[in-house]
């Protein structure tokens, strides 16, 4: 891989051991994937935040680093609400370790926003054509597909390396040749809301790491695109997709070789096979709720009282921007948690069955939390929480 004189100096250790290791990570990845050179990134979104996931090993590594990020950098969700962790039932020792991880990132200059939806918080992190180093699979999918930026799915260390060096190796989704659609997906009836999560659940499994292009009757909004991408990244490893006449278009030239057709019955089967009526907890906000979704939830919950535990997960900045919606939701007995989510927090583990409106959470909850999962629309989830089933 070609390195500039400056990059070579960092590799030699002229700028200290932390940057040397970071540059070595980028070079090693570049060589594994055949990158020609490094390319500057506009922002980084760093995984490896929840103490549940990275443990003492990860905490130790981040704490040992010494440097400052060169580009705007934010974090993945952590294992708890950083302020209301006691309300989540988080043990004190876990909270202490989690806080230590956050402090270590803060020391490196990382902005302490813990979210899988950076694009809902800041416009300045990504625009069409920007190179990025983002980690969280649904954020990567949204950045590549909906924003039209370019990022691979980075691991925690490689995203942090990109943040501290300000560059990433030029391979994979940074190159147009790897952004060509591989599968045409046709759905001939109108999708709405959680249907998009169900579609993603099915399509991800079929296309694996392919690049699907959707031909739809309906016009998805940003929350629906978020749900579609999130579940395809979980059931498969889709990092880029297109929706005709909605997302930025695919590079000209390539025609997808394979075709998939889904109908109403396929999607209804997802709802039927994963009923959530017997859930003891309902958790929404995977990926993190937007303000529009909080508005819908406030509308559904206003003046009512929940009969079951109901969590709404969002980014702190979103919750802080609409305190009146949060108050309406919480007046029902529901809890709005920030900085975390049901997938990465150990707080989920004490329940038996969780109902979600997210194809992504449906896939991850059983394996990562040891909790059974059910699926429904936002409205169905709220009905179950209100004891209306």
């Amino acid at each position: 891989m070609y390195l500039s004189r400056e990059e070579e100096a960092i590799c030699r250790g002229d700028h200290g051991p932390t940057l040397q290791k970071m540059m070595n990570i980028l070079v090693a990845l570049g060589e594994i994937y055949g990158a020609e050179r490094l390319v500057p990134v506009r922002s980084a979104q760093i995984a490896g935040v929840s103490f549940k996931n990275i443990g003492d090993a990860g905490l130790q590594w981040i704490s040992d680093l010494d440097g400052r990020v060169l580009v705007p950098s934010i974090l993945n969700p952590s294992g708890m609400d950083l302020y209301r962790w006691k309300d989540m039932g988080i043990a004190e020792e876990f909270a202490y370790k989690q806080q230590a991880i956050i402090d270590a990132y803060r020391k490196l200059g990382v902005t302490i926003d813990c979210t899988c939806t950076p694009y809902q918080l800041y416009d300045s992190l990504a625009s069409r054509g920007d190179h990025l180093a983002w980690s969280e699979s649904s954020a990567v999918s949204y950045a590549n597909s909906v924003i039209g930026a370019m990022t691979n799915r980075e691991g925690g260390p490689s995203a942090l390396a990109a943040a501290l060096i300000g560059k990433t190796p030029l391979y994979g989704y940074h190159l147009d040749e790897n952004r060509m659609p591989t599968h045409l997906v046709e759905i001939d009836y109108e999708l709405i809301g959680a249907d998009y999560g169900a579609v993603g659940f099915l399509v991800g499994e079929m296309v694996k790491d392919g690049v699907p292009i959707f031909h739809l009757q309906s016009r998805p909004n940003s929350d629906e695109l978020k749900a579609l991408g999130a579940s395809m990244a979980a059931s498969g490893s889709v990092a880029l997709y297109y929706v005709e006449n909605v997302t930025p278009p695919a590079p000209a030239g390539a025609e997808p070789e394979e075709k998939i057709t889904l109908d109403r019955a396929d999607i209804d089967d997802v709802y039927r096979n994963y009923s959530g009526r017997d859930a003891d907890i309902i958790a929404l906000g995977c990926p993190h709720c937007s303000m529009q979704e909080l508005e819908q939830l406030a509308g559904l919950l206003e003046g009512k009282t929940v009969q079951k535990e109901l969590w709404i997960c969002t980014a702190r900045k979103i919750a802080e921007s609409c305190p009146e919606l949060v108050a309406k939701i919480e007046a029902s007995g529901a809890k709005v948690f920030c900085d975390t989510c049901m997938v990465v927090s150990p707080a989920s583990e004490r329940y038996k069955k969780m109902m979600v409106n997210s194809g992504k959470a449906l896939i991850y909850i059983p394996g990562l939390c040891g909790v059974r999962a059910g699926f429904g629309t936002m409205k169905e989830c709220i009905d179950v929480a209100l004891g209306r089933n």
Binding site: A28, L29, I32, G55, A57, G58, W61, G155, G156, P157
Partner: protein, 130 residues
């Protein structure tokens, strides 16, 4: 005997060989405090990778495996060096952040080496000495 290889993580170290034909998921397969392979389904079940030159096709599984390699190193339970047929990002990143020499692109015959044979991995010169 000297074998040419490709440097992934720099350094030079030696130790007794421990080889497996199965990929390793450091998260789950290996105890991060002792270096003992704890997955009963793995070919190396019950063996300790600490201080060995660990020869395996490559990593697999969760990216948290990189941090596990770092923890092994901090507990003095890490391999002295590692040799892969083809390194992937989990093990590559783990080796770099931990300062463990790692090389790849070696001939497949190296997997058949007798356990305990003394091996030196000189990543900086792209050489494995047996």
């Amino acid at each position: 005997m000297e074998i040419l290889c490709h440097k992934v993580a720099s350094g030079c170290a030696s130790g007794p060989a421990l080889a497996t034909k199965e990929p390793i998921s450091f998260l789950g397969n290996v105890d991060p405090n002792t270096g003992v392979v704890v997955d009963p389904a793995h070919e190396l079940f019950g063996q300790c990778i600490a201080g060995k030159v660990l020869i395996f096709p490559g990593g697999k599984g969760s990216t948290v495996g990189s941090y596990v390699i770092y923890q092994l190193k901090k507990r003095n339970a890490a391999p002295a060096a590692m040799i892969n047929l083809r390194s992937e990002p989990i093990v590559a990143v783990g080796a770099i952040i931990s300062g463990i020499p790692l090389v790849d692109r070696v001939p497949e015959e190296i997997m058949q080496i007798v356990g305990g044979t003394w091996i030196e991995v000189d990543a900086d010169h792209g050489l494995v000495r047996i």
